[in-house]
């Protein structure tokens, strides 16, 4: 019954004011004992444990996070570094991803620290800072490059992390990814079955591993279907709408333009559609377009954009699971998980206007 603080009785109602030493003094115990009682140690009698618990809830005791973490030598925090924002952000992926990662982390008692990279400094600098100041226990990395400096740094440092996307060193770290190769095989196959024979592809930057894999899926399916690979039908892009416009112009101004265009993402597809409209191509009658990402906005445009979609929520959850496993037992072998995208038909694709009905069932 020592005075917690000079003041009226209601003082204790205010949250965040009672410390473990207050509880201990009030109960006539030491703070060590109170701590163990609260944390379920076996060497506390049922009776005193009950006393402690009741006092704790009554007084609204919540341990001070900073102190707990310092004592336990962990931060219970995961870092997520946002890449520099594109001038025209087109995708809601990031916010959905943050949302799901944060929710999943919360189930494990972890917090999410979001840091933004400014474009002037090196890509790994934010990671280095967070590691050195010991602000996080691990990282969630997304939008990996094939040769990823962030991955190199963290591997070298022996610091836990999981990537969304594969890298050249994927055998050395946990990762989660969408099977973009299969996705684009599926989409290509779908177009071929519709009767398309000249299919264009607008890719992403060479640095994005995922974009490369999507291209690979496209090529693979062309080959399996005995369609010749036409280099001029493969256009580079940059995963933006503008890039899509330019690429579409390159494709559609050719003497024999493609009857369908596959795009490495939805932003690109929107640019392609815009350019196609301006060049007088009707979609989907004269040109089929398929994107990748499943952005919700795609359902509202005319025609609605057919796209490859996947669950961002699942991505977040799975990545958190991988990371938690790694934090608990750092020496387990690396594992990975590949999820698949599904083709969401919405209307921007259809059979080509003039179906040249070659027999394509057997290749030779």
């Amino acid at each position: 019954m020592n005075d917690v603080k000079a003041g009226p009785e209601e003082e204790w109602v205010k949250s965040g004011e009672v410390r473990i030493s207050d509880l201990a003094a009030e109960l006539g115990l030491t703070k060590g004992t109170v701590s163990r009682a609260l944390n379920g140690y076996e060497d506390i009698s049922k009776k005193t444990r009950k006393r402690v618990m009741e006092a704790a809830t009554k007084r609204g005791y919540v341990p001070t996070t900073q102190a707990r973490r310092l004592a336990m030598g962990l931060t219970e925090t995961i870092g997520l570094v946002l890449p520099p924002m594109p001038s025209q952000p087109v995708n809601t992926f990031i916010s959905e991803f943050i949302h799901s990662v944060s929710a999943a982390l919360h189930l494990h008692g972890y917090d999410l620290l979001v840091h933004s990279a400014n474009s002037e400094e090196s890509e790994v600098e934010p990671y280095r800072r967070l590691v050195q100041s010991r602000k996080v226990d691990g990282f969630i990395i997304f939008r990996t490059n094939e040769k990823d400096p962030r991955v190199n740094y963290l591997l070298n440092e022996g610091f836990p992390f999981v990537t969304h996307g594969r890298t050249a060193r994927m055998a050395e770290h946990d990762w989660f990814d969408i099977d973009g190769e299969k996705a684009f095989r599926d989409a290509t196959s779908h177009l071929i079955k519709l009767g398309h024979q000249r299919i264009g592809f607008v890719g992403g930057g060479k640095e994005f591993f995922s974009a490369q894999l999507r291209l690979k899926g496209f090529r693979t399916m062309l080959e399996e279907s005995c369609l010749e690979k036409v280099p001029s039908l493969e256009q580079p892009g940059d995963l933006t709408g503008q890039g899509g416009e330019i690429a579409a112009q390159n494709l559609l101004k050719q003497t024999r333009p493609p009857t369908a265009i596959l795009c490495a993402n939805d932003a690109t597809a929107l640019g392609v559609m815009k350019a196609a409209r301006e060049l007088g191509f009707n979609i989907p009658e004269e040109l089929s377009v398929i994107g990748y990402d499943g952005i919700a906005l795609g359902a509202y445009i005319d025609p609605p954009l057919t796209t490859l979609t996947f669950s961002i929520e699942e991505s977040g959850k799975e990545m958190v699971n991988l990371l938690m496993r790694r934090l608990k037992s750092p020496d387990l072998p690396v594992i990975s998980k590949l999820a698949s995208a599904i083709l969401k038909l919405r209307g921007s694709e259809g059979p080509p206007s003039s179906i040249q009905n070659k027999n394509m069932e057997n290749c030779l």
Copy 2:
């Protein structure tokens, strides 16, 4: 030169391994002295300060954040709680906002803790938890309601925060907002100048203060222009595409449909455009549509969506400034900042097909 740790010389290369006590021992000083030297106290001689600094950089010493924060009694962290995700997020606001807030906080040495609210529990629960566990020093709140439980809780608790958006208690807390009323006056005025006389409005939920203010701006300008207020032309919405579709159907199936529709946000506008297409209205010839938010994708649809836009980056910066000011001097009077949106003409509006050329210059 006592052994820092048994091991080879390279041990110190690994980051995050050297503590202040290591430095102190190496220099023959106490850790208190080292700390003061590093933090610019005046009672340290130039010579030893230099010695300490050099040793610190040489050994790559970075103070452990948790310990610093515990000792100093602050978290240097700001909390941002994400509202439950809509099933069809169409807006990139959140990710841009997080990005700018995070970057601005970083300039002040603060971190951003992102927490996601799950929809089952009370809206204030995440805030309560973060306050009680002392994980943050303040909050950034966005998407305020007129009567906002979060604001009530934090005001009652005396905990620092800034809102993006006004509330019923805006006189009691710092806030930043976009002048949605003026924005919608401008947009309405623009439509009236184009010759529109029957203008529809699709609002947001009644709980969103901002949506109410936008409606108010719409009504004000109608009144100033001597256009009669037609209740059936004001439709409620929910800030989603679906809500926009339904509202548009209600508007366009009327015997005298509006020639233009103002939407409380871009998602709504997309739904309106979709419904209009399906009902056979050409945009902008037969129906003008204007949205609010300035989403980048609006530029890629057909026709490109005219919208009211504002700088999300500025919003983030300003809010951080307000919050930092509050943290530094808690007793300063509350201040607020109102920024304005600008009308970005992209093509989804134009003069009505049949201009009834009433003289509207003078009201009476």
